[in-house]
């Protein structure tokens, strides 16, 4: 069967459907990552130890005890910030809302990291350096 015969045996609706499906799926492949929230979990560590592992989807306010005092962390609308900190320079509060990356409060030894599920899995694999 040659190409001409193939074209004759397909209807116009066939061709439109094929075109639409390829267009939709390809644009889906490209854009779906942009639509999905980037970070999945919020890790809160004090002195290098994991204290909280929270989903970023859920609005929450938590208080953790650091080396100097209590740090209050707020999760809202897929964003995270530190609202109160006992440290002197308050750099962590000045950093404001973050959607990705991390907030580090050195004086109080508090680290807030937004990490994706894949990062978590990768960390688990590496047992030696972990």
């Amino acid at each position: 069967m040659n190409l001409k015969g193939l074209l004759n045996s397909t209807t116009i609706a066939d061709r439109i459907l094929l075109f639409v499906l390829i267009l939709l799926s390809l644009s889906g492949i490209i854009f779906i990552k942009e639509v999905l929230p980037k970070g999945h979990t919020v890790r809160i560590e004090v002195n290098g130890h994991l204290v909280y592992l929270l989903p970023i989807e859920k609005d929450r306010i938590v208080s953790v005890k650091g080396s100097v005092g209590n740090t209050i962390i707020e999760i809202k609308d897929h964003k995270v910030r530190i609202t109160e900190s006992p440290c002197d320079n308050k750099l962590c509060i000045l950093q404001g809302w973050i959607e990705k990356g991390s907030i580090v409060c050195l004086p109080n030894r508090v680290i807030v990291i937004i990490s994706s599920q894949e990062d978590e899995l990768n960390k688990r694999v590496d047992a030696i350096t972990g």
């Binding site: 069967m1 045996s9 209807t11 459907l17 094929l18 499906l21 799926s25």
Partner: protein, 167 residues
């Protein structure tokens, strides 16, 4: 159902089963990528002998195929059954509502699309329950399904033409 129809369904089911078994032996670049070769037979049956025969062939193929590969009533069986029945239903409905609109290639594309959507839905409800993982993989699966679906449609088209010629 006449005796001749029964013979026909048995023969077509055997063809579908053979293709089903054959494709599970083929190495694919991605583990869950399947060509859906059995749908060639389902589609041919639907166009030549009607919806009931096509549904029968699909059910026989899914049940016997799972018995042969040892997945009867397992997760793979549920996915296979859901995908097979949904794709056959979608083709049957489209063909009965708009008989002249789509040719074999279009019907095969519709079958592939509904097969994938139903399997993704079942996988989400029964096994994975993480919507972002399903959403991430959906366009990739639909794209691959479109490619394999159009290939199967072309093969069905050739098969239907040859069968009509010999009849």
């Amino acid at each position: 159902m006449q005796l001749q129809d029964k013979y026909r369904i048995a023969l077509l089911s055997a063809y579908a089963l053979a293709l089903h078994g054959f494709e599970s032996l083929l190495p694919t670049p991605i583990p869950w990528l399947k060509l859906g070769l059995a749908n060639i037979i389902t589609l041919t049956t639907l166009i030549l002998y009607g919806f009931r025969a096509a549904l029968m062939v699909t059910l026989i193929r899914v049940v016997l195929g799972s018995l042969f590969t040892g997945t009867f009533l397992g997760p793979a069986f549920i996915l296979s059954m859901g995908g097979g029945v949904t794709s056959t239903l979608s083709m049957g409905i489209v063909l009965s509502l708009m008989p002249r609109l789509f040719g074999p290639v279009g019907l095969s594309l519709i079958a592939a699309l509904f097969h994938n959507i139903s399997q993704l839905f079942l996988a989400y409800v029964l096994f994975i329950q993480r919507i972002e993982a399903i959403l991430l993989i959906t366009p990739v699966i639909i794209f691959l399904g479109t490619l394999t679906g159009s290939m199967n449609g072309i093969v069905s088209d050739m098969l239907i033409k040859n069968l009509k010629k010999t009849n």
